[in-house]
């Protein structure tokens, strides 16, 4: 067993885990935070995307022990109480989801995209940057639209730098 300490959504947590434990398993099974999904489990679909020290990564392809000490943000950490994060609000407003399974990963990728590319995102950039996220309802049109408006809203709300 190995001791892993992470700061998840601002809260410090420590667990003893088998070194095989993936970060996504740590989040879902140890912390019971099931917002981060496992879709393909092969680094392709992006449903498991979380932020590790501020950068989007696929938590199904990271060992929890290997990110020991890191600061993690999951989909559960975006909203402020009852107020959705502007990107979450944009997904709801623009119907950026159908079944919703890929949505946590889409939103975590979208927020990371804004960090790297700014709040004025054209469709081409959004589609390129979404390469690592797969929606099996194929609802990309509204996802792209939601990210465009979500990015804009983040700019207005001043949350882009977070």
């Amino acid at each position: 067993m190995a001791s892993v300490t992470l700061t998840v959504n601002g809260k410090s947590v420590t667990r003893d885990v088998d070194p095989r434990t993936l970060l996504v398993e740590f989040l879902r099974e140890q912390l019971r935070m099931t917002g981060t999904h496992v879709g393909c489990d092969t680094t392709q679909c992006g449903c498991c995307t979380v932020h590790v020290n501020g950068e989007a990564m696929k938590s199904c392809t990271l060992l929890a022990v290997a990110v020991n000490g890191a600061t993690i943000t999951t989909i559960e950490g975006l909203a402020k109480g009852e107020d959705l994060h502007p990107m979450q609000a944009a997904f709801r407003e623009h119907h950026g989801l159908q079944c919703g399974f890929c949505t946590p990963g889409m939103i975590m990728s979208a927020v990371d995209m804004v960090r790297r590319k700014g709040t004025d995102l054209d469709d081409k950039t959004i589609r390129e940057e979404l390469e690592g996220n797969i929606c099996r309802c194929t609802g990309y049109h509204n996802i792209v639209k939601a990210i465009h408006y979500g990015a804009e809203a983040m700019g207005k709300a001043g949350t882009a730098a977070e």
């Binding site: 190995a2 088998d18 070194p19 095989r20 489990d41 092969t42 680094t43 392709q44 992006g46 995307t49 590790v52 950068e55 989007a56 990564m57 696929k58 392809t61 990271l62 060992l63 022990v65 290997a66 020991n68 990728s109 990371d112 995209m113 790297r116 940057e129 390469e131 690592g132 996220n133």
Partner: protein
């Protein structure tokens, strides 16, 4: 995944010692190794994580670019210094996988793994890079031996890779839209001493140099110079994505595009 002992050495000497074990595996970003372990295609007894060693960073000096082995693809793609010195290399790093994979995957891991469809081996070979390990310096020409096979000895760890700055260069990739690996990738680099052309994704023995293109381009660096040269399909891969004849055709197309776009 089968169980393993996890190690996170904080010095290169400790890492080398641990990595020398019979069934030990070295992990850099883990973007290839972890999926392989999850599929139970690899079952190391000991996993040696290099993430506490530092070994990252990009330095440009004296006509050379030095990139630490643990430098992430995203940092190579985003480096302002590298974009000035060897823009083709930064662009190439930006084509690997997807944004999340680029945040974690490393240049050293990619080069050490030597996947026959990976991008970095073609850049190393075309630019005539030097692969520096804990014990020695290896020229790219001697480094890539075959499929997933390099000149690295068990326990030997890449610390940095040194790239000479070319006059111009470019990388063109015809990628598998699902995996984002190269079906064919061609890296062209023009130096005062001549032109080097390396092909990835196509060869059944991994990355290779296209000497006919090199010779023609060294005399005349133009698309026209290689238009008439036929790439043989012998020794090229055939799979469900592309057969050998198609790959041979793509090598010519990608090389011509690279020459045209070189800067």
């Amino acid at each position: 995944m089968y169980p393993f002992n996890y190690h996170r050495p904080s010095s290169l000497a400790d890492a080398v010692k641990l990595a020398g074990g019979d069934e030990a595996k070295i992990m850099a970003g883990g973007m290839t190794l972890l999926p392989t372990m999850k599929q139970r295609l690899a079952a190391p007894s000991d996993l040696v994580d290099l993430n506490a060693l530092g070994l990252s960073g990009i330095a440009v000096a004296g006509g050379k670019v030095t990139i630490g082995a643990m430098t992430r693809h995203a940092d190579v793609a985003g480096s302002a210094e590298l974009k000035k010195a060897i823009p083709a290399l930064a662009e190439m790093a930006g084509m690997i996988g997807d944004p999340m994979v680029r945040h974690r995957g490393t240049i050293g891991g990619s080069v050490a793994n030597d996947d026959p469809a990976a991008d970095y081996p073609s850049a190393c070979l075309a630019l005539g890079a030097t692969i520096v390990t804990n014990t020695r310096e290896i020229a790219a020409d001697d480094f890539f031996v075959g499929l997933f096979e390099t000149a690295l000895q068990p326990g030997e760890i890449i610390t940095k890779i040194i790239f000479p700055v070319p006059d111009k260069a470019n990388y063109q990739k015809f990628r598998n839209p699902a995996s984002r690996y190269a079906i064919v990738g061609v890296f062209v680099a023009k130096f005062a001493a001549g032109v080097r052309v390396a092909v990835t994704g196509a060869g059944s023995g991994g990355v290779f140099r296209q000497f006919d293109f090199e010779e023609a381009l060294s005399k005349d660096f133009s698309v026209k110079a290689i238009e008439g040269i036929k790439q043989s399909a012998d020794g090229l891969n055939s799979d469900i994505h592309a057969d050998a004849d198609y790959r041979a055709h793509l090598i010519g197309v990608m090389a011509r595009r690279a020459v045209e776009a070189a800067k």
